[in-house]
């Protein structure tokens, strides 16, 4: 069992036009910048991107948007300082946006990875973001029904990894990466360091069973 691939380009080469792609990270922390750059070079278009933020500046998700590769964004907070390329595309009507409360986004991703058919969350009950959704009141508390959210691919970033695809993380760079790893049909992990030895089983946060390919990218943003 050896999931290592030699280059970032090789890791993303099977992502087709029209694919749905989860991308880990919160702000610039835990974003798989190496894989995102490779995806830009690869050139797949008409992508649906699922990621908490919509990039900032001319790099990472910002550059992916600038290059016009994204037709839909599923996200909780696309309006960070510097999210100019998203704002331009949105204002021009060139991109569809599905806005999801952050905890609901995380839980929908987890539900897909866990094989659940959906869940009831109190988040957003009575607000505009629950409009048109099934709701229920239990013991006086309102809940919104939310469906699982899966993707064709997930691009994630870990700290250390091994040939089995096991991953550990670094500080707040963990964020969406472990749940996205579980929710995509093909999860590609970039790690700061590929270890020859297996990771300590106690320190593994994402078991390798979720990971199809793993590639080293030593740069820390």
């Amino acid at each position: 069992m050896d999931k290592r691939v030699a280059t970032l380009a090789e890791a993303v080469r099977n992502i087709p036009d029209g694919a749905s792609v989860m991308i880990g990270g919160f702000g610039n922390s835990g974003v798989p910048f190496g894989l995102v750059d490779a995806l830009i070079d690869h050139g797949a278009k008409n992508l649906t991107i699922i990621s908490n933020n919509a990039g900032a500046g001319d790099f990472g998700l910002g550059r992916l948007l600038k290059e016009g590769q994204v037709s839909k964004f599923v996200c909780s907070y696309p309006r960070s300082r510097g999210s100019v390329w998203f704002e331009k595309a949105y204002a021009a009507g060139e991109i569809a946006l599905e806005i999801v409360p952050q905890g609901t986004l995380a839980e929908r991703i987890r539900a897909a990875g866990a094989g659940l058919g959906g869940f009831l969350t109190p988040t957003g009950f009575g607000t505009r973001l629950a409009e048109g959704k099934e709701t229920r009141v239990i013991d006086g508390k309102g809940y919104v029904f939310e469906a699982p959210l899966s993707a064709d691919f997930a691009l994630i970033r870990g700290e250390k990894g091994d040939r089995w695809g096991n991953l550990s993380y670094h500080g707040t760079a963990r964020n969406f990466n472990p749940i996205m790893a579980s929710a995509a049909r093909h999860t590609i992990a970039e790690v700061r360091q590929l270890s020859e030895a297996p990771l300590d089983p106690e320190s593994v946060v994402s078991p390798g069973i979720f990971v199809k390919s793993i590639v080293e990218y030593g740069v820390r943003p």
Partner: protein, 213 residues
């Protein structure tokens, strides 16, 4: 009328954070609060992006670009900290485990409704983040904001006019002019910024303010 600066307001609110509390500070000005909590109180700060135990800003040269809080500020780690992934982080928020959240607001209504994620301006894409999860899960929601908008229009209303973040969720509002509790009867004055009168504050408030009991 006398108006607290943002830092003075953060210092006032910090007095109400008890020893041993787990606290989430919303993005922007609420993050000022932690600097003013009395040093004999041990408070652990949760940030939605996967940490309990947010420490102070790093010294120069000690920054780690992957160690940030929900405001995307660089942070350090306090003793007793833990990291976790996003589903777990929001389980902590939604599940009632955090004691207090401090949030900014566009509007607060006398029934405790909160509007803090979207205005009626459709020019910008909507962005919600984690506020909706916090308000349904955290038992004490403190709002920290200016009492009125820049144009003088009131932010403490009978009913919110902006899209809601949550229904009947706010417990207390700290403004530059006064501190008010949200009660079943509506806003009730807790205290006035030194030198202000209830009549003065009422005059810039749409909702009725009840006197202290």
């Amino acid at each position: 009328m006398n108006s607290l600066t943002d830092q003075q307001l953060a210092a006032r609110l910090a007095l109400d954070i008890p020893d041993g509390a787990y606290v989430n500070l919303g993005i922007g000005k609420p993050t000022y609060v932690s600097s003013y909590v009395p040093s004999d109180r041990e408070v652990l700060y949760h940030s939605e992006n996967g940490i309990i135990g947010v420490g102070p800003t790093p010294a120069e040269g000690e920054e780690d670009p992957e160690m940030i809080d929900a405001s995307k500020r660089l942070i350090t780690v306090a003793p007793g900290a833990a990291f976790f992934e996003h589903a777990d982080s929001f389980a902590i928020m939604r599940g009632g485990h955090i004691d207090i959240a401090v949030l900014g607001a566009y509007q607060v209504a006398e029934n405790g409704d909160l509007a803090n994620w979207a205005t009626l301006d459709e020019k910008f894409p909507p962005a919600v983040g984690g506020a909706m999860d916090l308000v349904v899960g955290v038992p004490k929601i403190f709002v920290m904001m200016k009492h009125v908008n820049k144009d003088g229009s009131p932010k403490l209303l009978k009913r919110c006019t902006y899209p809601l973040t949550g229904l009947a969720v706010v417990n207390r509002v700290y403004t530059d002019l006064a501190v008010l509790d949200v009660t079943p009867e509506g806003f009730r004055l807790v205290e006035l910024t030194d030198g202000n009168s209830l009549d003065d504050v009422q005059a810039v408030t749409e909702a009725r303010i009840l006197p202290p009991v």
